[in-house]
Amino acid sequence: MTDWFPLWLSVRVALTATLVAGTLGVALAYLLAKARFRGRGLIEAVVTLPIVLPPTVLGFYLLTTLGVNSPIGRAWEDLFGQPLVFTQTAAVIAASVSALPFVVRTARSAIETVDPRVEAAARVAGLPEWRVGAFVTLPMARKGLGAGIALGFARALGDFGATVMVAGNIPGQTQTLPIKVFDAVQAGDLAAARTGSLILAGIAVVVLLAVTQLSGQRL
């Protein structure tokens, strides 16, 4: 009997994380591409950190920030009556943070390559700045935004290190497919490890093909 729960959980966590990282990431990308303000470089560096940090370090920081002994963790427990860590919410947070830089970086370069003359023309036509962004810049950058969101989804789906630290390895609750693969290898259940790995590799290939399609054509 194949246990489909890890795959289902992974897809659910990754989709939710993509929603979070996609919304936040596109907004941040727009801000970083258009606005000039102090601390912009710092925001960019912090957002990019998850790409270069070892996932274990990221997981450790998240555990420290969200754990039962942290202010956020305590506030959460007061509010919802149970700790935040070792829940599916924690898995979503880990996946969102891991996915965010992929969305921001890809979306930002897409936004920056939109022809400024078109935006200028829209302004001349009398559109307020927010409508220029919402109806001109972002639609014109849509393929790049799509590529960034697709990359973010792939990264969220594949996260292991950060997720296992803040969400644990609880079968039926927080055991995502990458964690299931790890557990299956440890248990000597190579058949399950192969199936899980094949599914994850398959999804990754499909997503990367989609990204190539999206970013390969001119915007």
Partner: protein, 258 residues
């Protein structure tokens, strides 16, 4: 950023662990168990579910890692450690029920080699050049790793083989390293290889401090009763029979050192 993500994610996941635990129609418990228990406890869990209707989910890891998770608020109902010290640490932090602390087994070490490598006759033979890589569990957080290093030290060969040691995350990861052929021999838990089709060499238990395995109920609220029932089951007649079959010595029945 973390805060924003946390708030944004709040909507999604609150049905996560809470939903699984509160939907009390078929009762269920989650057990954090040392990875030397993987095979024995999976069998025990299935039997317990058959007899009581309570589903048991296991999260296996090294005892040190599981202790960290419990101290950080992991929703486990029972903690079955490979070393009593980790149970004491959980109790000291106020996250377990002291009256439920109980010994349930003594673990034993065994040498295991992958196909194509001759099994050593005893621990002293590990200095032979055949054994280029020796897999042990990480002694920093895995009790079987501590015991393995103690055994090498008692045998007087730790210095000779120290450079050849490779560390598994926990004892089943250690066996995985050996099983894959990436180490020529593993110092593993007897319980993981006793049912194996390959031979093993049991190490004398006086080579290391006893692997005194203890458990404790860490449940709070609704699942406490089921957790206590599971602990009683492990230490009951049926549980003890299964543990013995997987090579564990039982508390009260263990021979004096030697």
């Amino acid at each position: 950023v973390v805060v924003v993500v946390a708030v944004a994610a709040a909507g999604c996941g609150s049905d996560g662990a809470a939903g699984a635990r509160e939907g009390s129609s078929p009762p269920s418990i989650t057990v954090a168990a040392a990875s030397d228990l993987r095979f024995a406890f999976e069998e025990l869990g299935a039997r317990f579910e058959d007899e009581t209707g309570t589903a048991v989910t296991f999260s296996f890891g090294s005892s040190g890692q599981l202790r960290e998770q419990i101290l950080n608020g992991a929703p486990f109902d029972v903690f079955a450690s490979a070393n009593v010290a980790f149970v004491d640490a959980v109790l000291a932090a106020g996250r377990g029920r002291p009256e439920t602390k109980a010994d349930y087994a003594f673990g034993r070490l065994a040498l295991w080699t992958p196909p194509g490598v001759d099994l050593p006759a005893g621990i002293h033979e590990l200095t032979a050049p055949t054994y280029r890589r020796i897999a042990v569990a990480n002694p920093v957080h895995a009790p079987y790793g501590v015991a393995a290093v103690q055994a090498l030290e008692s045998a007087g060969i730790l210095g000779a083989v120290e450079g050849r040691l490779v560390y598994g995350e926990n004892i089943s990861d250690t066996l995985r390293i050996a099983r894959s052929g990436n180490a020529d021999v593993g110092i593993v838990a007897l319980s993981l290889v006793i049912a194996d089709d390959r031979d093993h060499v049991l190490l004398p238990e006086d080579l290391h401090e006893p692997l005194r395995q203890a458990l404790v109920v860490t449940a709070e609220g609704a699942s406490t009763e089921a957790a206590i029932a599971f602990v009683d089951f492990v230490n009951g007649a049926e549980g003890r029979e299964v543990m013995v079959r997987y090579g564990f010595a039982l508390p009260g029945e263990r021979r004096a050192t030697g």
